[in-house]
């Protein structure tokens, strides 16, 4: 008797399973066709680091203390600065990160005394060579400043 019982209940369980999948057949889809449609990024998203643009100065506030370089576990960050005056602050000349080594721990952002580093929202970082992963943050900043200025201009025109 248990022989037929197992066949019966076994068959029933299979039909129940098929009911689950056929219901899904008419569900709305949960995926999006990626390059054509995108889902919004979360506000906390951590891309590679970049410089924050401060409203008051219109640029970054890096003082070339080198804390980020020292704290980075993987040696991602390289920066250089020069002293323009004998006893003045240093000015940043180079700030380069090798994103291929970065593990996105965020220690550099946390340790920065002037809080001039932030996470970018960049996620399409495909490159053909390793050197494509090397990001020059100062050049990036310059591009962003330019873009902002342009945006302001067009806004001004529109107004």
């Amino acid at each position: 008797m248990s022989y037929f019982k197992e066949i019966f209940y076994g068959g029933l369980s299979l039909i129940e399973g098929m009911a689950v999948t056929v219901r899904r057949l008419f569900h709305p889809l949960v995926t999006v066709q990626y390059p054509r449609k995108r889902i919004p990024l979360s506000s906390a998203y951590r891309g590679h680091t970049e410089f924050k643009i401060f409203e008051d100065t219109g640029t970054h506030k890096c003082i070339v203390c080198g804390n980020c370089e020292k704290t980075c576990p993987s040696g991602v960050i390289r920066l250089q600065g020069v002293k323009e005056k004998e006893k003045g602050p240093k000015t940043l000349t180079h700030y380069v990160i090798d994103f291929s080594k970065c593990s996105l721990c965020g220690l550099c952002v946390e340790i920065c005394p002037t809080q001039t580093l932030q996470y970018s929202k960049e996620y399409e970082l495909v490159g053909e060579t390793r050197s494509d992963c090397v990001i020059d943050c100062l050049a990036r900043l310059a591009r962003q400043v330019e873009k902002q200025a342009e945006e302001k201009k067009t806004q001004g025109l529109a107004a």
Binding site: I7, L14, G17, M18, V20, T21, V22, R24, L25, H27, P28, L29, V30, T31, Q33
Partner: protein, 323 residues
């Protein structure tokens, strides 16, 4: 000239060659779409409207790929196997009753021919698995042989009960006798057993143990690349069509409409519609269930399917005799 048997045969073969490959490509697309929508994703979308041309592009890609011959493989057998697997599948089309007058060759042994040839694919799978000189492929081939031996029996027993009722092995004869009532209503057990065995026969999930992707990498066609793999792939889908077409003509009334009501639709469309519905069910099953284990499959076949189909056959014989 036009009425001659030879002309009919050659024309039929040409149509079959065209239809079989296009149909297989369409079925691959359909499978991906069904799988996609069951899994809450759209499936192929990029090439052509709703990805319709995707499989054609895939076929082109496969044709452009290098055929890799593994070291120490049996060269002749290795290249013969994909051809062997595709040929009998094509022959099966010869006797399928697409419509009242749409049979390439209406033989009085049609049913027998289809099953004789479909068994042939096992030989090809064994040859391919053996010739690859790969342990996974060999395991897959061995599993395939054992599985097919076990499943041919209930499959044929289920078919036998229909044949007993009609007293003929000709497809057109069988379909004609289902004019008013389909055999699935008369022989539900046989129909179910046929469908289950057919799934095993075509090596589809949950009985896809010869290629058991997560166990044997790709089973018997592990070592095949390019069009060698492509032919195995096309054969699987064509085989699926044949098996479902046979089920349609044996149990679902072939070109007949439901209870003799044809709604003015030509028979061939009834036939194709029912065949594709059955194929859809096979796909639905595949994307729902996990794979059974090898020995459980055997147990299921020998301890459940064969006794039940035998009992069914005996009951059928008695009832037919009494009536």
């Amino acid at each position: 000239m036009f009425g001659s048997e030879w002309f009919r045969l050659i024309l039929g073969l040409l149509i079959v060659l065209g239809f079989a490959s296009l149909n297989a490509l369409f079925l691959v697309w359909l499978e991906r779409k069904v799988a996609g929508h069951i899994q809450l994703r759209p499936g192929p979308m990029e090439v052509g409207p709703h990805g319709l041309l995707q499989t054609i592009m895939d076929a082109v890609k496969l044709m452009g790929k290098e055929l890799i011959l593994p070291a120490k493989a049996d060269k002749r057998l290795f290249f013969l196997a994909p051809v062997l697997v595709f040929m009998p599948v094509l022959v099966g089309f010869l006797v399928l009753p697409f419509g009242p007058s749409m049979i390439i060759r209406d033989m009085n042994l049609g049913v027998l021919l289809v099953f004789a040839f479909s068994t042939f694919t096992v030989l090809a799978i064994l040859a391919g698995g053996w010739a690859s000189n790969n342990k996974y492929a060999l395991l897959g081939a061995v599993r395939s042989v054992a599985q097919n031996v076990a499943y041919e029996i209930p499959l044929l027993l289920a078919v036998m009960s229909v044949v007993l009722m009609v007293n003929s092995l000709s497809f057109s004869e069988i379909v004609r006798s289902q004019k008013t009532i389909w055999f699935i209503f008369v022989q539900p057990v046989a129909g179910l057993i046929y469908l289950i065995s057919a799934t095993a026969e075509t090596n589809r999930a949950p009985f896809d143990i010869p290629e058991a992707e997560s166990e044997l990498v790709a089973g018997f066609h592990t070592e095949y690349s390019g069009m060698g793999f492509g032919l195995f792939f096309l054969a699987e889908y064509t085989n699926m069509f044949i098996v479902c077409a046979v089920a349609t003509s044996l149990f679902f009334g072939g070109w007949n409409g439901l209870f003799g009501i044809s709604l003015g639709i030509p028979g061939v469309f009834w036939f194709l519609f029912k065949t594709y519905m059955l194929i859809f069910i096979l796909m639905w099953v595949r994307w729902t269930f996990p794979r059974v284990r090898f020995d459980q499959l055997m147990n299921f076949s020998w301890k459940v399917m064969i006794p039940i189909s035998l009992a069914n056959l005996v009951v059928t014989a008695i009832v037919v005799k009494l009536i």
